[in-house]
């Protein structure tokens, strides 16, 4: 049993979760800001959805091209190993969702805290 268990761990070590860990950190910052300051972002999820579709289209196109051209590349041992179109790690798609979420949450929290632009939606 022990041999089987260690063989599994060797095949797929926890290091595969490293990139995901970075995303978890960014996401938890966003969730903390959103609920801690009641930014109201989750109530307006449709607007965020539309925003993120735009970001995903633009930045995944760039990412796809850059990975294809080898501008940047990923350590296969530190990503889950699931890819979109056979070359974009799933973590990249999550990155372009989690970072915009945290960005908008920060913007809305600062708007509330400073009272600036109180006349704008």
């Amino acid at each position: 049993m022990k041999a089987i268990g260690s063989a599994l761990v060797e095949d797929w070590p926890m290091s595969h979760l490293h990139y995901l860990g970075v995303l978890l950190f960014i996401g938890l910052c966003g969730i903390g800001v959103n609920f801690g300051f009641k930014s109201g972002l989750t109530k307006r999820w449709r607007i965020f959805f539309a925003t993120d579709i735009g970001i995903l289209i633009v930045y995944l196109a760039w990412d796809s091209w850059a990975i294809h051209k080898h501008n940047w590349f990923f350590d296969a041992k530190q990503i889950i190993g699931v890819h979109l179109f056979n070359h974009i790690p799933i973590e990249e798609i999550l990155f372009f969702m989690v970072v915009p979420f945290t960005t908008v949450a920060t913007f809305l929290a600062l708007k509330k805290l400073t009272g600036w632009e109180a006349d704008r939606t």
Partner: protein
């Protein structure tokens, strides 16, 4: 052959900043770059970008081909990442503001 492939990330990162500014000022007309709230948000997010850049590059989760970047680095990541990050934060907030005002128009 070599000349054309050199400094690709740098060129595109600069284009991305220009596209985001043009979208903000002239297409979406959200004027983010003229608003204090935008710059305050960017100022708060930037140190976190540097932190995660350092995290991703110091552990070699993400690596860059030397030919695609000018070679100067900040917090472990190519200096071009600042342009990439700025363009994405600007475009995200411009799109958010654009869709927010659209939806409030519709609701009266």
């Amino acid at each position: 052959m070599g000349g054309r492939s050199h400094v690709i990330y740098s060129d595109i990162a600069l284009d991305a900043v220009m596209i985001a500014i043009i979208a903000d000022l002239f297409i979406l007309r959200t004027q983010m770059v003229t608003r204090g709230l935008f710059w305050l948000s960017y100022g708060l997010i930037l140190p976190f970008q540097l932190l995660t850049n350092w995290w991703l590059t110091s552990k070699s989760i993400v690596m860059y081909t030397p030919d695609a970047i000018i070679g100067r680095r900040l917090a472990g990541a190519p200096i071009e990442d600042l342009l990439f990050g700025f363009s994405m934060i600007l475009l995200t907030l411009a799109l958010w503001d654009y869709f927010s005002s659209k939806s409030s128009e519709r609701n009266g």
